[in-house]
């Protein structure tokens, strides 16, 4: 059932335009001076119960991230430091953006047998769907680094290779920086 939306008719004063602009500026200016007053007062230890509107001072301050947020990928390591990945190509197969390229090699240890000689993720293509993490049978790829900033001046720079992905192989600790600093 469609909802009928009544169009609000503007009054004559509103249609005159100038008055409404002045009212808008007054509102913004009011907020500005109120916030400035509250923040200055809090700076001197006053008005603790009043809260000025807050802005995260990015990049010094960061928003808290939900633990399940999908962020930059990392490859985990075995106990001996070798990558856990066995180059089964499940992630490459499931990837809807075709951003993963793996080249497999023969591992000298027949119990491991297969390992990635190359593992590239083109973050310029990645859609951060997390399917690679879901598909991995070895828990070798995760998206829990909490890193959201990866920029580059070139397309090639957006391709993360095995070394770059292994560099963050440690389980990330809740980062001090990423905690909210409330003013």
């Amino acid at each position: 059932m469609a909802i009928k939306v009544e169009e609000k008719q503007l009054t004559l004063l509103e249609r005159l335009y100038v008055l409404e602009v002045v009212r808008g500026i007054a509102l913004t200016t009011g907020h500005f001076f109120r916030n400035m007053a509250v923040h200055i007062a809090r700076l001197f230890g006053l008005a603790k119960d009043k809260k000025g509107s807050t802005t995260f001072q990015y990049p010094e301050e960061r928003r808290p991230l939900a633990p399940r947020l999908r962020t930059l990928h990392r490859l985990t390591r075995r106990e001996d430091g070798a990558p856990r990945c066995v180059a089964c190509m499940m992630c490459e197969t499931v990837c809807p953006a075709h951003c993963i390229s793996i080249v497999a090699g023969e591992h000298p240890n027949p119990l491991i047998e297969k390992y990635p000689t190359r593992f590239d993720i083109d973050l310029g293509l990645c859609v951060f769907c997390g399917y690679c993490v879901e598909a991995c049978p070895e828990d070798a790829i995760r998206m829990d680094t909490g890193v959201l900033e990866f920029t580059s001046f070139s397309r090639e720079g957006m391709v993360y290779d095995l070394n770059k992905l292994l560099a963050r192989s440690e389980t990330p600790k809740p980062n001090e920086e990423s905690k909210v600093k409330t003013a």
Partner: protein, 526 residues
């Protein structure tokens, strides 16, 4: 002729047919591991158990002969539970390392487990450890843990290759497939054990880890390794882009069943002889300007060929131009060459065979000494005389322009003659000494990159289909000939299908899958 009922469907089969074959005739596929139509019956895997009325116990379909009034069920509850139990047995010591296993994606353990699996493992004991991933020959790697002891490979070495390298050793759960002492699986047909292994126990060293099988696309083709014309499937990078495989497009070759030629088998030379499709290819037309060969466009290269040919033609007539076609070319290309060079230009110096070519190894199974796929086609299409006479005339200066297709004529005696030739045009796929010595090089397409037919040594005309686009700037040979003809003022069809239809009266698609009849008097049977 017993008539039996399988799952409610009646079927009449020849005497001696087994139940598994009878079921196949009506399209019922009974799961099996050890049964292979090309090998003797072993009855080892017990996967093909079926329920037959009047038999108290389940019977293996691969060993039970069909009898009159037999009533077989392949889907009863007893059968399904037996399959589930058999899979549980077979998998009890299986390492389940599908992520690293090359077979996964085309593994019968995986396939049948999807339909008949237990899913919840009840196995609490420790799995028996066996030897993993070690080479047993130049092409094959064995993983004893993955093996389910169907003995297909053992029977293959006993019955087909007759080389007896493999056997079953030890007893019970410690049984393993292994090489007999001092032996190595290096017979010329060793690669076939990889195909017949239903699990990932035997894997191909060349193909290992290069590509997962679900990325592969497949196209029907004909092996170009010798004049036998074995039917093959070209497996190439399909959904996965070739750059991810280092530019390699054709990943492996598998035999394709043809009861009249190669049955299920293929020799190792054919199986691993696909490297030329992606390596060392001539990718652009080349022209010799001063002393070096330099890349050129098609138009100027073809124009230069046409000009030189015309000049030689007007100076010396039909003797001024020599052509050496090749038994590597398809029938359609040979027909196009015949039409242009013999029928239209009436050239007198047209040859096909290379008398210096060294014969390959031959045996009484598949391999022929003649290393060309289409020598019979060359003969059938009326080419006679060998390259030597033409080369000699070119060396003496009688032939002004020499057009060479595919052959390498730059070694030994041929090389000395070729050096003296005035103007050489090379049409081929891969770089060789002849191409490097030519004045104009025109890149052709390999059999993976075009449509056409080869005539095998028995006279069977067989089709190969295009799997890939011609590499780089290269072109289908019949197109090259047609364009060359256009520059010379003749008109020839460029597509293989048109040429074939004009030749045999049927289209390529109508040619039977197993090739034309061998009898040369009868027309090609669709």
């Amino acid at each position: 002729m017993p008539t039996l009922t399988i799952d409610g469907q009646e079927v009449t089969v020849d005497a001696g047919t087994t139940v598994i074959q009878a079921a196949e005739q009506i399209g019922i596929n009974i799961p099996r591991y050890c049964y292979h139509p090309g090998l003797s019956l072993a009855g080892r895997c017990r996967m093909c158990l079926v329920e037959i009325e009047t038999f108290p116990n389940l019977q293996i379909a691969c060993y039970t002969r069909a009898q009159d009034e037999m009533v077989v069920s392949t889907t009863s509850e007893r059968v399904l539970s037996a399959r589930q139990s058999m899979l549980e047995f077979l998998l009890s010591n299986h390492p389940l390392d599908c992520p690293v296993c090359d077979q996964s994606g085309e593994c019968d353990l995986q396939n049948f487990y999807m339909d008949h699996g237990q899913y919840q493992s009840r196995f609490l004991e420790n799995k028996v450890k066996k030897k993993k991933a070690f080479p047993i020959g130049p092409h094959v790697i064995l993983d004893q843990e993955r093996c389910i002891l169907c003995t297909r490979c053992v029977r293959f070495t006993e019955e087909v290759s007759k080389s007896n390298e493999l056997g079953v050793f030890n007893r019970g759960s410690r049984s393993v497939i292994d090489l007999y002492p001092t032996k190595s699986l290096d017979n010329p047909y060793s690669g076939n054990v990889i195909d017949i292994c239903p699990v990932g126990a035997l894997t191909e060293r060349e193909f290992r880890f290069k590509c997962r099988v679900w990325y592969l696309a497949s196209q029907e083709s004909i092996c170009t390794g010798c004049s036998r014309g074995c039917n093959i499937s070209l497996d190439y990078n399909g959904s996965r882009r070739a750059y991810k495989a280092g530019g390699r497009r054709v990943m492996r070759i598998k035999p394709r069943y043809n009861p009249d030629i190669n049955k299920w088998w293929i020799c190792d030379e054919g199986r691993f002889g696909y490297g030329f499709i992606d390596t060392d290819r001539i990718e652009t037309p080349m022209q010799r300007t001063t002393s070096d060969l330099e890349p050129s466009d098609w138009d100027p290269a073809l124009a230069r060929v046409a000009e030189t040919v015309k000049a030689a033609y007007s100076e010396k007539g039909a003797n001024g131009v020599g052509v050496i076609v090749s038994p590597q070319l398809s029938n359609e290309e040979l027909l196009a060459c015949r039409e242009l060079f013999v029928e239209k230009m009436k050239l007198t110096n047209v040859a096909a065979l290379n008398p210096w070519e060294e014969p390959g190894e031959a045996d009484d199974f598949l391999r022929n000494a003649d290393r060309n796929p289409n020598t019979k086609g060359v003969e059938d299409l009326g080419y006679s005389g060998d390259a030597k006479a033409v080369l000699e005339k070119a060396a003496e200066g009688e032939i002004e322009v020499l057009i060479i297709f595919r052959h390498n004529l730059a070694d030994g005696e041929a090389g000395k003659l070729l050096e003296k030739a005035k103007f050489v045009v090379y049409v081929g796929t891969n770089w060789n000494a002849t191409a490097e010595r030519a004045h104009v090089v025109l890149p052709g397409a390999t059999h993976a990159e075009k449509d056409g037919t080869f005539t095998n040594f028995e006279g069977r005309v067989q089709r190969f289909k295009q799997a890939l686009l011609p590499i780089g700037d290269s072109r289908n040979d019949s197109q090259i000939i047609s364009e060359m003809a256009a520059k010379l003022g003749y008109s020839l069809p460029a597509s293989a299908d048109e040429i074939f239809e004009a030749w045999k009266g049927i289209s390529l698609d109508e040619l039977s899958g197993s090739g034309s009849s061998v009898d040369p008097d009868t027309a090609v049977q669709a």
